[in-house]
């Protein structure tokens, strides 16, 4: 009996005293860079945002959804494109408008401390508008595809008792959205860093 009590006391001393968060919301800016077909676009994204919602299903696991939007663009100087017996001279303003919706789950390594690191995986759909603007002309290839997003990051709360914090997250996105017209023959992929404001609800 005495031995059992000692063991119980020992375990309770190291037991996790959870914060009992039930859910959180994030509004984030997202800085993305494509990692495929860099001849078309090799710049960081502009006006990239993400809205995130998660619910804790245990002390450590969350599931939820997110909406994302990113605009990639670049400039291709004037060039003569030759195809059989036709030549076209133009400069091109290349754009990819990227919209994503995903279901995602994360595992938090701790939820008790101010810094709450995690790793997760998202699965969803991407809608890409591969667009070329040249002079008054425009050519657009709109594609839906499946998307996977492994990611990792941390929530840093403003204080031990605070429900507010910032989130940083690095992610790799791959979507099956292929565009022959713009030479995305193997889909679209990017890496990104998102930084956002978090509200954690208990």
């Amino acid at each position: 009996m005495k031995k059992t009590l000692v063991v119980a006391l020992f375990l309770s001393a190291f037991a996790v005293n959870g914060q009992n968060f039930s859910k959180y919301f994030v509004v984030a800016a997202d800085f993305n860079k494509p990692i495929v077909n860099k001849e078309f676009i090799n710049n960081f994204s502009q006006q990239s945002y993400k809205l995130v919602y998660r619910e804790f299903i245990t002390d450590r696991f969350t599931v939820g959804g997110e909406l994302g939007m990113a605009t990639y663009n670049d400039y291709i100087p004037p060039y003569v494109y030759v195809n059989d017996n036709t030549s076209i001279y133009t400069d091109i303003y290349s754009y990819v408008y990227n919209y994503t919706i995903a279901l995602s789950g994360e595992y938090f390594f701790t939820t008790e401390k101010i810094v709450m690191p995690y790793a997760g995986f998202g699965l969803g759909a991407a809608y890409n508008q591969f667009t070329m603007y040249y002079n008054v002309f425009q050519q657009q290839d709109n594609r839906w595809g499946a998307m996977v997003r492994p990611h990792a990051g941390a929530i840093v709360r403003f204080g031990k008792k605070s429900n507010w914090g910032v989130m940083t997250d690095v992610h790799l996105d791959y979507a099956t959205t292929k565009s022959e017209d713009t030479d995305y023959t193997n889909g679209f992929a990017n890496v990104g860093l998102q930084v956002g404001l978090v509200y954690l609800k208990r």
Partner: protein, 201 residues
């Protein structure tokens, strides 16, 4: 529920903020497309003619069929200079030239059209070359103004008396681009630069 309402509103707001190129940057360079007839040997020709100071016109107003004045003059002069630089002799129509130009402005602003360009034309369009028809126009949304240059083989009509288009150049937009009167001359020069097969040896 409130979260989804908020995210929906935010999403709609974000979708409304679509980034597009600055028009001033976008309209700096005209687009120049050239196409050669793959079965034509351009060394076979040595002279050309051109209706100087006059361009054909497709526009909203069916009464407008020609472009005259300074603009037509600078365009036709530039084309004539490019051809003579390429080694062709300029002749008048009655001197039996090998080649002839049909030059048309398509002012499709607010008109819903597209244009297809068959290789052969079997009618008369008004440039003094019997056997040349204008392009075929069908419905499509287009708000551009394009200069279309057709080079016709005047020596070799087919069995139906039709003239063959052996080189085409489409240049646009010739009205909305920055400094269009200067840019159209650069674009005509580019059309010839990217068609080295036109140069006489």
């Amino acid at each position: 529920m409130r979260f989804f309402a908020l995210t929906s509103l935010l999403s709609l707001a974000l979708l409304g903020c679509k980034v597009t190129p600055d028009p001033v940057d976008l309209l700096q360079h005209m687009v120049v497309q050239t196409t050669q007839d793959e079965n034509t040997d351009f060394t076979f020709y040595s002279s050309f003619t051109l209706s100087m100071d006059t361009l054909g016109l497709y526009a909203n107003d069916p009464k407008d069929t020609l472009v005259l004045g300074d603009y037509a003059e600078i365009v036709t002069s530039k084309i004539r200079n490019e051809m003579t630089s390429a080694g062709y002799a300029y002749l008048s129509k009655d001197q039996n030239p090998d080649l002839g130009f049909a030059i048309t402005v398509f002012d499709n602003y607010s008109v819903y059209q597209t244009i297809s360009y068959p290789t052969y034309y079997s009618g008369y369009y008004g440039y003094g070359y019997g056997g040349y028809y204008g392009p075929i126009v069908s419905t499509y949304e287009s708000r551009s103004t394009t200069l279309v240059i057709h080079l016709l083989d005047l020596k070799n009509r087919d069995a139906q008396g039709r003239l063959k288009v052996i080189w085409k150049a489409y240049i646009g937009d010739i009205s909305q681009s920055v400094n269009p009167d200067q840019k159209v001359l650069e674009a005509i020069g580019q059309a010839f630069d990217q068609s080295p097969y036109l140069n006489k040896p």
